[in-house]
Symmetry: C2
Subunit: 162 residues, 2 copies
Amino acid sequence: MNKDLPDTLLSQTDITNVELPDNIDFDFLEAFFLAYRDFVGDADKTLEEMGFGRAHHRVLFFVNKNHGLTVAELLDILGITKQSLSRVLRQLLDSQHITQKTGRDDRRQRMLYPTLKGRELILQLSTPQSRRINTALQNAELSDPQAVLKFLTNMTNASQKG
Amino acid sequence: MNKDLPDTLLSQTDITNVELPDNIDFDFLEAFFLAYRDFVGDADKTLEEMGFGRAHHRVLFFVNKNHGLTVAELLDILGITKQSLSRVLRQLLDSQHITQKTGRDDRRQRMLYPTLKGRELILQLSTPQSRRINTALQNAELSDPQAVLKFLTNMTNASQKG
DNA sequence: TAAAATATGTCAACAGTGCTGACATATTTA
DNA sequence: TAAATATGTCAGCACTGTTGACATATTTTA
């Protein structure tokens, strides 16, 4: 491949030693990526057995955490469009992991609730993730473990407004 | 939709108050998701202007962080297959953000390097992410900010082995 | 009350990024 | 020399995201 160029002699001006201004903690960026990669991976095996993907996990997670969530609120949290949500939510309704109730105040709204089946599934999905977090916290020898939660909360756009 | 059921009377056994064993910190799980969602979102606008996606970002990030990375090493870090990588890496090579050199020891290997153009791009992509992290760390009032990095490092599979 | 706005749902087409399987080339190792 | 390895490519497919268009039920506004 790329037989045109004698690639051991590829333009040395590209593989450059030019110093760029750089006050960026790449180690931290890397750690955040790797941490999240393995964190979400904890649930993959269970999800695959259910025929679900990570999108189902996220939907079920937030419905479980926030009983009575409306569709619009869920879309806002997930940061996706209703068309993206529809397929995944439809499957979770069909599989009876989630149920809907018509809104009391506003009958246009669909309030979402996890079923017992759904609650059991999200517990199963969350358990290895929670265990990973607890182990990581313990081994980090933090004087104040709550500070890590505060850091994570500060990372969201919503928190940066305040 | 779903006119068959009087959904205000949907099976109350599904919307259950049954207590499940639950020692899971859902707030922490949520915060981690939201933090990562907004963290990666920082780069989206720049990526879109370049005609790139988040996969390009990840590839360029690790090549920049680890000059001379081989393809196999990169695949291992990213946790994807070579077929998945190929399209993205091909585009980054074509756009001259990354260059290859044949391995010195093993001429089968392709050692990957960022070009000056690539280094400038990854700096541009990483700057808002780094700023977000620094602000979040400061506002978390940590006695030891390095402990957060340690926590994140502990979250990876590799670290859990030790 | 009629019209406009809102919340939700659905269809269609498409894009980005992952997967598996199969096969090819160059190079190194046994 | 034969087998193993590192890489690349093609084809087909799955999951999850997008936009645009349109429909229905309900609420709000004029």
